[in-house]
Amino acid sequence: MPADVRLAEAPFVPDAEIGAFARAQPQAGGLVSFTGQVRVDGPAGAGDVEALELRHYPPLTLPGMRALADEALARWTLTGLLIVHRIGVMLPGDPIVLVCAAARHRREAFAAADFAMDHLKSESWFWKREKRGGLWRWVEPRAQDHADLSRWQNARA
């Protein structure tokens, strides 16, 4: 079962992707999806994110995502795996990333989706900048991402 791994240069509709994915997985008992989206921070304030941009390096980005998908497929018994990641400029409310994992048993679907997100966030070749108060600023790495990754470094979690 090959994974479906894509970079999206334009907005995508997560629920449409989830529905198509689910209909292709009749042998699955459980399907887990994660959607990451640009947060709307509530009543507009000067510190809010007005836009977000993801840049990438094409020779590395998609191959890296495919390797991550292969690792998840090797680690859990899945009936299907979908990874879609936006690049380019996004506005609040826009989807950034979608991961769907399907398996006969729900725990494998949960673990695979969780694993894929932790690795996408910290090991994929994306550079992110945010626009606040009219100014673009690059987002630095977060310590939390390394803590998230370490969850997967011992035995099958």
């Binding site: 840049r55 390096y57 020779p59 590395l60 966030k121 910290s122 090991e123 994929s124 070749w125 994306f126 550079w127 992110k128 900048r129 690059w138 987002v139 630095e140 790495p141 977060r142 939390q144 991402d145 998230d148």
Partner: protein, 82 residues
């Protein structure tokens, strides 16, 4: 001959562009290429957390590639967090 340097993330802001085409008279090692760039940019490109990719393939830490005609060298700062 011409080589291409690619700057990702904040390195693009420092360089003023995402890419730079450099004419070379002959193949050159990285230190010689960096010596021809503005000092602040050259310093940032040599930062300890900046990884290199030559023609789309990651180089091991400490590699000192020699660049020849048509080569593309990308400078990859740490990726952004979640």
């Amino acid at each position: 001959m011409t080589i291409k340097l690619v700057f990702l993330g904040r390195l693009e802001d420092l360089a003023g562009a995402g890419e730079m085409l450099l004419p070379l008279d002959e193949p050159q090692a990285l230190p010689a290429i960096l010596a021809g760039l503005p000092a602040d940019l050259a310093a940032a490109l040599q930062g300890p957390k900046v990884k290199l990719a030559l023609n789309g393939a990651l180089l091991p830490p400490g590699a000192e590639p020699v660049l020849a005609d048509g080569d593309e060298l990308a400078f990859l700062p740490p990726v952004s967090g979640g």
